[in-house]
């Protein structure tokens, strides 16, 4: 690769080139400011699609630890998807205890108050004993929910300071044409990480680590003689903190016997669905030796797209030193058993590869906490890491 040495610093001179302070990753006070100034106002990707709850009454519950809210998302009889605090308006008891399911309504197990699938209060036990109770005012407390290309997002602001569409920024053009509707969730995983959310996410924001961290799982899929350090062929950093990075694929990648089988039976994360047409909504046509795109929705969720498949993930901050990393793979819905077997290959490799990505987080976090180092030295290839710190610091200061 003969690209100039510092391509990205030239594209984004405002980000500078000096070392970056680790203070925002180690300070508990800074984390509290992130909570107040960023997390309470952001759109949270729930890493689910509308098609994951296709029928009236289908629901799931997601704890959003950082704001301390249990969220119930349910499809109503009118086919609308709504989000509520998972709490009874009587005295606040939790209404739904299962993670997911299909229900005719929600009944509180404290005193039997019952809500319909639109969240309206339908029944109050021994209602005559109350004074002037107006059931129409006592539906489950609503949470803002919006949908972008099928993906469900919630916002805990009383009045969100920006719409989801505004928060998506350039993704409304760049990513929107991707054929998400053809895909089905085939795998979902959750990891506990004892590290700051930014330290955790940083391990997923560059290709520099690939030759080292993924030497076993991907010895030649993303790195080769002409790109030994997985240089990122295309990066776009948006002013609102969103980021896109194209991850290269090495043309000389040799398929193992099993990868060959998997591709014969269906699609794989390295070979895609085998079509020769360019997938809209990706950089397949613009980036040399394209593998897939990482698309980061500020601050910490992603919709990453490959040739006919995608994975969504998020680095959920729990505390200054605790993060949950959740990810879900969406592949073409398998029709035949051989396709299900085929997809197992990509699922397992990507799952195990993410375990490698997470390996460095906790020891790195410990070293930062011990102030063993207090600055990060970042190369041009790590400009997305720099951009994250810059955006977070500016938001907290602003």
């Amino acid at each position: 690769m003969n690209a100039p040495k510092h391509t990205y610093a030239e594209m984004y001179p405002e980000l500078g080139t000096g070392p970056v302070s680790t203070e925002s990753a180690v300070s508990k006070e800074f984390f509290e400011q992130e909570r107040e100034k960023i997390f309470r106002h952001q759109w949270f990707s729930l890493l689910k699609r509308d098609s994951d709850i296709p029928n009236p009454g289908d629901y799931f519950v997601r704890e959003i630890e950082i704001v301390g809210v249990s969220v119930l998302v349910i499809r109503g009889d009118d086919n609308q998807i709504r989000a509520f605090h998972n709490s009874c308006t009587h005295r606040g008891n939790r209404l739904v205890h299962d993670d997911r399911g299909c229900t005719v309504g929600m009944q509180c197990d404290f005193h039997g108050w019952t809500y319909d699938r639109q969240g309206e209060l339908a029944y109050v036990t021994d209602e005559e004993q109350f004074y002037d109770l107006d059931k129409s005012e006592l539906g489950m407390p609503k949470i803002h929910l919006d949908i972008w290309r099928g993906f469900l997002f919630v916002n805990f602001d009383e009045m969100p300071d920006q719409s989801l569409e505004t928060a998506m920024g350039d993704f409304n053009q760049d990513l929107s044409p991707f054929a998400f509707d053809d895909l089905e969730c085939i795998g979902r995983y959750r990891y506990q990480v004892d590290a700051n959310w930014k330290t955790t996410m940083n391990a997923f924001q560059e290709g520099y680590h690939v030759a080292f961290v993924h030497k076993r799982s991907a010895p030649d899929a993303f790195t080769g003689d002409d790109n030994p350090y997985c240089h990122i062929p295309k990066i776009k950093l948006q002013d609102n903190g969103n980021q896109s990075l194209a991850v290269p694929a090495a043309p000389e990648h040799k398929l193992s016997p099993t990868e060959e089988l998997a591709f014969k039976f269906g699609s794989t994360f390295t070979q895609g669905i085998g079509n020769t047409e360019i997938c809209p909504g990706t950089w397949q046509g613009e980036a040399e030796n394209w593998g897939f795109d990482l698309n980061i929705i500020f601050p910490f969720s992603r919709i990453n797209v490959g040739a006919g498949w995608c994975y969504v993930d998020a680095f959920w901050p729990i505390a200054q030193d605790k993060t949950i990393y959740e990810l879900a793979y969406y592949f073409p819905k398998p029709v035949k058993p051989s396709q299900m077997i085929s997809q197992e290959f990509s699922k397992i490799v990507l799952r195990d590869l993410s375990r490698e990505d997470l390996a460095t987080n906790e020891v790195t976090h410990s070293a930062l906490m011990a102030r063993s180092i207090d600055k990060l030295q970042l190369s041009d290839q790590e400009i997305a890491v720099r951009h994250l710190y810059k955006t977070v610091t500016a938001r907290v200061a602003g």
Binding site: E184, V193, V213, T258, K333, V335, P337, D352, A359
Partner: protein, 115 residues
């Protein structure tokens, strides 16, 4: 004990314990196995995978009969073993976040695909 696999796969009957129905159980079995066991499983199944796929593909997934499911699970378990044998040379993923910190939440989706 009655055979659990279709007759044409009776050569694999000795591996039927590996037919774990969920990803979480297959991953646990892989990590709990020795490299010798995984290599044996991999080497035995690899030349049979095309026949397994052809047999199972008589049906679409939602119509797959229950008595064919152990064979499907053996095929899916093959992928776990193959990744250990071909990539990691170890039952687990070396230099990684420990498996105990991972919760596999795939089971509902797997069941839904099978109707």
């Amino acid at each position: 004990m009655a055979n659990r696999l279709p007759e044409e796969f009776s050569d694999l009957e000795g591996y039927v314990d590996w037919a774990e129905p969920t990803e979480a159980a297959r991953m646990a079995r892989r990590i709990g196995a020795s490299m010798e066991e995984l290599t044996d499983y991999y080497s035995t199944l690899l030349p049979r995978m095309e026949a397994i796929a052809a047999y199972l593909d008589q049906w679409d997934l939602p119509e797959l009969p229950d008595d064919a499911k152990p064979l499907l699970y053996l095929g899916m378990m093959y992928m776990e073993a193959a990744v250990a044998v071909e990539l990691f040379k170890d039952p687990d993923v070396p230099e990684s976040s420990p498996a105990e910190k991972l919760t596999v939440l795939t089971e509902h989706g797997e069941r839904a695909l099978l109707g």
